[in-house]
Structures are given as C-alpha cells and as structure tokens.
C-alpha cells in the first residue's frame, strides 16, 4: 500500500518534472524570440485615407467607430515639416462649399472643429493670401474620422496629415478591434521605436 502510494508519488513527481521541463523549454524558446515593446500603429501606405492612388472614395472612419476606447485612440496628426502651409487648405476648409465674399470657402471640413489655423512668419496685414499658415490639430477634439487626412493626400495636398495611434490613449488590446475591421489591414504591430516616430 505504501509502496503503491510512493510509486504513485514518484510517477507524479516524474510527470511534474517533465511538465515543468517542457514549460521551461517553451518559455525559453519564446523568450529567445522576444522583442521589445510592440505597439499598434497605422500603416500609412495601406490606410485608405492616406494611401496614394486611392481617389474619389469617402474617407474611411473605421478608426473612429471601432476603437474600444470612447474617443478613439487614433487621431490625425499634422507633420509640420511636411505641411505646405497653404492659404486655402483643403483639410481645413471644405473646398466644395460656397465661396464667401473674401474669397474663402464658407465651411470648415472638420466635423468636430479640431483644426486651428494661424498665420506664421512675416505676416502681411493687407493681403491674407500673402502669408503662410500653420494648421494645428487639437487632439482633444479629434476623433480620427479621417476626412482631413483624405483631403490632404497627394495630389490634392502634400500628405502631411496622417492617422496615428496615440499611445497615451491606446489601451494596447491584444487584438485591436480596428485591426480586425480594417479592410486594408492597415493596423499593424510594430516595435515601439518605429511606432512612435
């Protein structure tokens, strides 16, 4: 009886040892492949809103509707170094709206009024067309709907506005809900150094 018990115990010990060894081996294998922090980021070469060549389509707002966070973690970001600083920016104004008497479109494009515009450099007080303008997107208001991104895209604009995942908002889901819904698989996992660029 006691022999049975000890045999059973021994068997159990052996199996336990094997299981632990297998787990250890598995863990080691995975750790050797391990990378640093990976984060979700929008691939601008795939995203419909910023991808070259895709014209005449509605701006895709899946980033806004699919993100599990209440105000989407994807926001439009304007890279000032690439921005043309145009007087009449198609991402700021709705250029198909009626033109007012000053020569500017009467409506703004952003449905949440997140873009602000101010003249920079040497400001010409008489002719407003004679200035460079800086366009700044307020991230607290932006919800990543992509309208401005689509309008800024080449050839209409210079493509300085793109959709980016903001890491102070992204909860880093194991499987990003936007990634699942995106028809072009534009949400990808990248090393943090790449994603935060």
């Amino acid at each position: 009886m006691s022999q049975d018990l000890s045999r059973r115990d021994l068997l159990r010990d052996v199996v336990r040892g094997t299981v632990l060894a297998v787990m250890g081996g598995g863990a080691l294998f995975l750790v050797r492949k391990a990378n640093g922090q990976v984060v979700w980021q929008v691939d601008a070469t795939r995203c419909v809103n910023s991808r070259l060549g895709e014209l005449g389509v509605e701006a895709c707002n899946l980033c806004t509707t699919q993100c599990v966070v209440a105000l989407s973690a994807v926001r439009a970001v304007n890279d000032h170094a690439k921005c043309g600083r145009c007087n009449i920016c198609p991402a700021y104004f709705n250029i198909t709206s009626a033109v007012d008497e000053k020569g500017y479109p009467s409506e703004k494009l952003c449905p949440r009024d997140a873009i602000t515009r101010k003249p920079i450099g040497k400001v010409d007080p008489e002719d407003p067309a004679n200035n460079f303008y800086e366009y700044f997107i307020d991230e607290k208001k932006c919800d990543g709907c992509g309208k401005c991104v689509m309008q800024c895209k080449e050839p209409l604009g210079l493509g300085s506005i793109v959709l980016r995942v903001r890491y102070d908002k992204c909860v880093d889901c194991n499987r990003c809900a936007i990634a699942r819904a995106c028809p072009k698989d534009a949400l990808v996992r990248v090393p943090m150094a790449l994603g935060s660029r």
Partner: protein
C-alpha cells in the same frame, strides 16, 4: 487621322496593361523655416509614448505576488475573509485599473501564435503572464483562480445562492472549456490576415472594466454576471480555456488544498459550502477547487486545526 486613332487605341491598351503605377511622393516641397522667415520655429510634433516598460514588468511582479499571497491565504492562513480581500484587490488592480488586459487567459493565443508563426514574436511579459500561473498550479494548485484572476473575482463576489449543478452535467459542461480552447487556438494561429483572438473578443467582463464596449460584449458580461449569482463561477468552470490548462496542471500539484478529515466530525458543512463541487465524499477534488476558501469558513473545527499537521487525502 485613322492612324492617329489607332495609335491612341494601341497606346491606351499598352498603358492600361502596364504594371500597377507606382505613385510616389515627389520631392519634398513643403516650405521650411528659412523660407517662412519671420523667426518662425517648426513646432515639434507630439509623440505620446506608451506605458513605460518597467510598469509592464511591475504587472508581472504583481501577478506573481498576488499568487503568492493567494497560496499563503488558502494553504496557510485558511481564511475566507483574507481571500475576499485579495479578490477585491485583484479586481481593482488587474480588472478596473489595468482594464483586464493582458491576462493569462488571452495570452494562450499569443503563445500559440508565437509557437507557430516564425514572424510573430511575443514580448517577454506576455510569456511570463502565461507561464507563471501554470507553474504555480503544478506545485500548489489553482492559486490563480482563487483571488487573482479578475474575471474570477468578479464572479466570486456576485455569488449569492449557489445552486448545485448535477455531477454529470458539471462534467459535460466542463468539456466546453476544451472545445473553446481548441477553437481559440485554431482561429488564432491562422495566417496574419485571417487571425482573430476569440478569447479577447468574447471576454465577458472587460467591457465593464473599460466602462465601454460593443453591445455583444456587454450582453455576454451581463448574462454571466446574472448566471453567476446562482451558479458558482460559470465562466470559470465551463468556458475558461485557461482553466482547462490549469486543471491539468493541478493534477500534478504537490501541495494542494486540504480539508480537515475527522472521523468524528463528518458534518459535511464544507461540502455544502463549496459551490464548485470540489469536495466529494469529504475529500477535496483538487482539480475542481477554485481556491475560494469557503470550506474553511464553514468548518467549525478549522480554526483550531489550522496549524496542526494535516493528513492529505485524495
């Protein structure tokens, strides 16, 4: 004229059949600081960084610590009160603060993909999250389920009047876990474009942790909460794929939960108190034990025997 028209047709067909036109961004033509003049300085583009790496390591440390505390509470201290305290603490930290992600249950998928897909590499933190509870289970049993798992803690705290589930039904439903496990792994290891993480998609309570979620997630969560008021921890016992893995590991456990065997006092209060069917014929069925410590609370003799040497059975 006719020649020109033919030329047009030929050229158009040739151009149309050409390979996809590579649209390229031309030379960078945006005005620079110098061009704009007037003392203009380029504003820096904000780059919010994600959570610090050390915080993720802290999460793993907290997981390990919580499991250590759970083992101590259930195997040493044998106190239900302390376990409830731990459960509340885990719910607060792993549930509402970390919003339930990453969790060992979901990490099954990451590990499965990492083993199968050479291009997918898994952060060390996730590997640790997957293996730690299993290793603890191999030695001490399902300490993770006890007071650490946020999903378990949620169900644990809403259990009002446990209804006993008939044995056969319990066993049969328990098989669902393995079906779910197989399905989750199968869907997760598909190539990158077809991959889906079912466990995350149908997580019952993460919608409550985030205070927002898709309708189907909130409904599933509500159903499990309501069911959990009467059936003890339905997700844990019948749906949780990680629970299936833990059950296998518990069979090897050296030191597990023990209840007091006492021929004089086979009162069976512990068996009545256990909502999970982990006590059969006055013996602990370790693989079903979810470390809730209700049996200790019900035992009238447990207090005095807490430090006595106990005979292990089963």
């Amino acid at each position: 004229m006719r020649r020109a028209r033919i030329l047009v047709v030929v050229l158009y067909t040739a151009l149309a059949c050409a390979q996809s036109i590579p649209y390229q961004r031309p030379v960078d033509t945006a005005p620079q600081e110098k061009t704009i003049g007037g003392g203009y300085k380029l504003p820096a583009v904000e780059k919010p960084l994600p959570r610090d790496a050390w915080l993720q390591v802290l999460d793993v440390a907290m997981l390990a610590a919580a499991m250590g505390v759970s083992v101590w509470i259930v195997l040493r201290r044998r106190s239900r009160k302390w376990l409830v305290g731990l459960a509340i603490g885990s719910l607060a930290y792993f549930g509402f603060y970390r919003e339930g992600c990453i969790c060992p249950i979901g990490s099954i998928q990451n590990v499965a993909v990492a083993l199968v897909d050479p291009k997918y590499s898994i952060p060390m933190v996730v590997t640790a999250t997957f293996f730690l509870p299993l290793v603890v289970a191999v030695f001490f049993g399902r300490a993770f389920c006890g007071g650490v798992c946020a999903l378990g803690a949620m169900q644990e705290l809403v259990l009002l009047r446990p209804v006993e589930v008939p044995r056969r039904l319990d066993r049969a439903l328990g098989l669902l876990r393995y079906v779910y496990l197989g399905l989750a792994i199968l869907v997760a290891v598909r190539p990158a474009l077809g991959r889906d993480f079912l466990i995350c998609r149908f997580d019952p309570f993460v919608g409550f942790f985030r205070r927002t979620g898709a309708p189907h997630m909130l409904i599933i969560g509500g159903v499990f909460l309501v069911a959990g008021m009467f059936i003890g921890r339905p997700y844990c016992r019948y749906m949780c794929p990680y629970g299936g893995l833990l059950e296998w590991c518990t069979r090897l456990a050296r030191r597990g939960v023990t209840i007091t065997p006492d021929k004089e006092l086979d009162c069976g209060l512990c068996a009545e108190a256990c909502p999970y069917g982990a006590i059969e014929k006055m013996r602990a069925v370790r693989r079903n034990c979810l470390y809730c410590a209700r049996c200790y609370a019900a035992c009238p003799r447990d207090g005095e025997l807490a430090h006595a040497k106990l005979v292990q059975l089963a």
